[in-house]
Amino acid sequence: MLLIHCPYCDEDLPELEFTYAGEAHIDRPADPASLDDEAWRNYLFIRSNVKGPHYERWRHNHGCARFFNAVRDTVSDRFLTTYRVGEPRPDLESLIGKEGRE
């Protein structure tokens, strides 16, 4: 069972308190009506499905109930970082570099 750091509670807590909520940094278009069918399809269904560091959303639903973002390596299942909604994508290079030094 993973330990996940909730960036709002600032605690490492067991995976059981969290649920996965899909890929992160996919903004709902401000004016969906202006999108053509293909663009809307891409928003709805197309995901990056990466092998390696993945930007994704989690919710601390049995805790503070906040959604937050994380970078998790889909190969090792290791969390590289978690951060609050609205914060920019962390830089992957520096995350991996940091991981490498540990």
Partner: protein, 997 residues
Amino acid sequence: MTAFRVAESGRVRHDRPVEFQFDGRSYQGLEGDTLASALLANGVHLLGRSFKYHRPRGILTAGSEEPNALVGTRRGPGRYEPNTRATVQEIWDGLQAESQNRYPKLSFDLGAINDRLYMLFSAGFYYKTFMWPRSFWERVYEPLIRRAAGLGKAPQEPDPDHYAERHLHTDILVVGGGPAGLSAARSAAKSGARVVLVDESAEMGGHLLSEPGLVIDGQPAWDWLAGMLEELRELGVRVMSRTTAIGYYHQNFLALCERLSDHLKEAPADLPRERLWQVRAGQVVLAQGALEKPLVFDGNDRPGVMLAGAAQTYLHRYGVRAGDRHVVATSHDSAWHAAFDLSDAGSRVEAIVDTRANPSDALREAARDRGIRVLSGHTVTGTSGRLRVNAVRVNPVHDGSVGPAETLGCDSLLMSGGWTPSLHLFSHTKGTLRWDDESDAFLPDQQAEACHIAGAGRGLWGVEAVLQDGDLRGAEAAEAAGHKPESGAFQVENDRTGSGETHRELPSDRKPGRARAFVDYQNDVTAKDIRLAVREGMKSIEHVKRYTTNGMATDQGKLSNMNGLMIAADAVGKAPPQVGLTTFRPPYTPTTFGAFAGYHRGDHFEVVRKTPIDSWAEENGAVFEPVSQWRRAWYFPRQGEDMEAAVARECLATRKSLGIFDASTLGKIEIAGPDAVEFMNRMYTNPWTKLAPGRCRYGLLLGEDGFIRDDGVIGRLSDDLFHVTTTTGGAARVLTMMEDYLQTEWPDLNVWLTSTTEQWATIALNGPNARRVLEPFVEGQDLSPEAFVHMSVAECRVAGFPARLFRLSFTGELSFEINVPARYGRALWEKLYEAGQQYDVCPYGTETMHVLRAEKGFIIVGQDTDGTVTPDDAGMSWAVGKKKTDFVGMRSLSRPDLVAPGRKQLVGLLTEDGSVRLDEGAQVVADPNQSVPMAMIGHVSSSYHSATLGRSIALALLKDGRNLKGQEVYVPLPSGLHKARVTDTVFYDPEGERLKV
């Protein structure tokens, strides 16, 4: 004393005999024996029949890796445990064990015919033999194979034992209580770290228990062990025996299974049988030792053939000789010492057969001193003996060619093919292995978790080296956990260091196709099977494994994986590291379902949510049904009524006069804040801006994909406060979805969402007399039809309780839903029920609710919709705000697929014969005379007998359904083919006259 017991020897209590039974016969063992050691002491070697060929099998090992000696043990009703490893099960007075997979008896088994037909049962025989005729697979072949193959039988009764769960946090967890684990635990604990030491065995010591001749730091090994355990106790180390580390997961999370009662004659009633520990450790030291490999030769599975290290364990730990006349076949020095020890204990060792041309002079000399014949540079080419080995066939090998055979008589053949470092838990963590040429073994390479591997697991050999290594790894772990490392030194006398070589199957002068040389004993996989798999195109070790089932039995390939790899590598023509090893997966040893289930069984399996009115329903004879996690009153049968009669009565009573229904499980969310109406507009399809406070509206919620997710009536209590209701099962999902949009898409909106499902008890009064019974209770709201119109909401008092009162209808009747704080729910229900007596008030349950709503064509989300239904498909375009520019899912409603013709649409179905009630889920076809498989145009989503209409009604999702209205369709059911007419979805009171009461 039994024939094979060695006086004064072993850790068993010679003064405490234990009576037990095997296959109905009584035997005597000693306290401290395992079932295997006790049977060996009685000269019993035949314990079971093999999985596929029903070959007689005996005891191969002395530990949890045992693939052969699987028995059933019984300790009363429901306490039958199949596939118990006799090498692990400790005996107690009255223990009953029985052999498995044999008929009519162990010594004469009809299934053994399979062994004669072995040519038919080669690798992949399932896929080849039972291809034709196709329909025979399910009906004939598979049931036959399933009966013939397999091991123990699962017990039929419920398990009367209970199982516990615990969590544990520690600085350092040491797995394995052998010399490496002991020294690691000590050095870690001395540095001040919190340490837990676990071992699967009944007592700590590991290999030390099998080699009492060692002298450690000047003390005999067992005295040293006792002192060590005392020291660990003083250092505060938690020492757990009979505890298996079954799995090693992310971030140093390990699962341990502690066995508490299987070794006891009488367990205290409150003692759990097993306890599953979930451990989070700062650092882990893996000191799991090494497992001895069998040699692969014809007849290497006969009872009486045993690993040499196991024989050494039986001799020293249990005081049992594995036979009277031994032949030892080996490619490793360790087996020589087993031979010497047995010889010293009074057994006769006929010969030591070593595959190596030049075993060391020291060993030869020690053999000569004991008068043991040495055959170096030899191979083993066969064994004989029906139910126990009585002779071994050996041949010299010169420059790769096999010389003439010689037969050696014996009653025990001890073998050793070298040792495999036990890296199962390391492998669970995705730690990688590298091939070590020197030791011909895989050793740990890159690690993925904070763990340290100590001792034989790293390929070290000899107790001094292992003790020293454990000590260092323990210190290393302590330092990594933030403690100042402490380490010590060890001196070991009589240490038996040694080496060996690794083989594929041994060379033979006989036809290899005839050899029954077993690699995987438990799954009956031979060397020939592995070569055949490679010949048939399985080049990857993963394919070889699946095709032959090598390593796939409950022993997880502990003995077979390396031998299988050596043979496959040879067949493929590659070096072993290029072929690679299959992945070990948890659990390390077979684990009971009980341990995993723990407390989560029976009433504790799942939460049961009860409404405040549940107790009244129970007292009044309700039959309940589970709805998501709620228990809801389903119907209220009177004396002699079945469900159909009760539901018909409830429906008629409600339509005629008055029904009362507990709707408390409805999901409720309060949406509050200055931007509440904006939020509602964005979430729901309907327009909310113009909905006046005091009014309510049916709301439809879509996913962003345009499909219906949920629905419910929503009341506006004030400009900035909405009382949202959701489906019972959808409450949490809807709140999550709303939170998601609010937190991540529209954090600028000033809105608060609060789940209030359990805060309110909700009572629905339905029927023409609903107002008459309610009106006298209401203060603060005029209930007259003009003042409180259909689809209104008010905050008022009902029977003195603060209430949110809705006028809405899910039945088509005049209806009020009264929400009061949950604690007043039952009190209000009782008052209304009492007052309703003058109108013959009828309590009804969810089934009647379903019928009444279906008569009105109201959908149940999740029953009449399936996640692919749009508002238009459901005939509810009226609920979509035409002037809205955006809401969740709106853009999708114009996607090409969602506007294409031919979508499934919700319609009504009336069977030609009104007494026929269609099955929900039944498929609908247009033409009943078409050939099979028929083109299905949709399915029945709801179907009931309507007492009001005196006939059956149904709702269905049919392709292009609204255009089919008036036409006939067909529903093929097991009861026959039924004709039905497609109709509108509203069967009763389509004009809504009954609301105008």
